[in-house]
Amino acid sequence: MNIIGLYNYWIVVVLMMIGFYVVIAHENLIKKLVGLSIFQTSVFFFYISTGKISGATAPILDPEYHLYSNPLPHVLILTAIVVGIATTALGLALVVRIQESYGSIEEHEIQSQDTQDQMESQLEAYGFRKKHILSIQNLDE
């Protein structure tokens, strides 16, 4: 086993962990999407690097060459890259809509607005009028 021959996996792991950390540690939804994109890119790298065969050429048949690299990862990632762009765009569109209706893209602010609405509607269901509910303290804070 050659330790140096595994460096592609280490790059993939580092990239993947950077993306994962951004997703779980940041509250900003745009930053979460950036983290998801980095995570996604690390998966692309992983697939592409498994397709490499040392000394092989690109998988386009030619009488001059006899050794070709593995075409299958190329095919899978080719479609995945374009689909990744489309899904990222969809995520951004969702963030724009969230910004329009909540006025914020910070996760805890969205969460506190949601709990506020939920508690108000529950109190109204018990018969309180909305004007009698002066303020509700968020229990988490």
Binding site: V13, I53, N70, A80, V96
Partner: protein
């Protein structure tokens, strides 16, 4: 939360590092990924489909189902962006800005004001001030047709060189987006309207799915291009090669249209009135 996340990431990363020791080396020809189905593709692509580029053959022929639904996913993403973002009612903006082209003066017209009639001398500009830059506009005007021609080459030449519907479609869409960035959104919409991009997107998916259905009607399996031989008047091997081109054209159309459509909606927050 950050500390907890950092600890999780370090633990998981260490685990993955440890697991990577059992993985095959980079460039190992006897790795599992290179020994099962891939040798079949490399050895039989030429006699099966007469397409030298194995990636294109696998993409559009051997794994045609996968690509069909990837195209459908891209189209659905474009459609979802449209449904999420598009604001259809036309509320007039507070003020519109027009540039008088001969003098370079900018007019600000309040809501309900009279809009200049002679549209040859006046050009509407965005409310965020956009300088009129001759160099950028002219350079992009010169470059865009060549980018589009290159995109068509990438789609059409995917059988013999790196390329195909996805790559060519993205390049073509990027050319149109470049035009939109260098000029403005309204002028781009006059060239390629939203209706047209929606139509092209769906036509692209229909070309792909329709080719599959046609094969079914002609007596072969779904997306089994050998069935197209009688329709195209060639032997089954060439029929597969030609059908790959048809399918790639559909993919290119769909990808181009969806990229442009998503750009229209995202750049103008769904209003498609003012934007880059």
């Amino acid at each position: 939360m950050r500390l907890l996340g950092f600890i999780t990431v370090v633990l998981l990363g260490g685990l993955l590092f440890h697991l990577s020791l059992d993985f095959p080396d980079l460039g190992d020809a006897s790795s599992p990924a290179a020994t099962h189905v891939s040798p079949y593709y490399i050895e039989h692509t030429m006699e099966d489909t007469s397409v030298p580029n194995i990636v294109t053959a696998v993409l559009a022929d051997y794994r045609g189902y996968d690509t069909l639904f990837e195209t459908a996913v891209i189209f659905s993403a474009g459609l979802a962006c449209f449904f999420l973002m598009r604001i259809s009612e036309r509320t007039a903006p507070k003020a519109r800005f027009y540039r008088h082209l001969p003098t370079g003066l900018t007019l600000r017209i309040e809501k309900g004001g009279k809009i200049p009639e002679d549209t040859r001398e006046f050009e509407r500009i965005d409310s965020v001030w956009v300088p009129y830059d001759v160099i950028i506009t002219m350079t992009c005007r010169l470059v865009v047709p060549f980018i589009q021609l290159f995109a068509l080459y990438v789609i059409a030449h995917g059988h013999h060189s790196p390329g195909g519907g996805f790559q060519g479609g993205v390049i073509f869409g990027a050319a149109i987006i470049l035009y939109a960035i260098s000029n403005n959104l309204r002028r781009t919409l006059r060239r390629m309207s939203e209706r047209m991009s929606a139509l092209f997107g769906s036509v692209g998916v229909i070309i792909y799915g329709g080719t599959g259905m046609l094969c079914l009607l002609l007596g072969a399996g779904f997306l089994d291009y050998r069935g197209m031989a009688s329709l195209l008047g060639v032997d089954p091997v060439s029929a597969r090669s030609y059908s790959i081109l048809i399918v790639e054209t559909g993919v290119g159309l769909a990808v181009t249209a969806v990229m442009v459509w998503i750009y229209y909606n995202l750049s103008s927050a769904g209003k498609q009135d003012e934007g880059l």
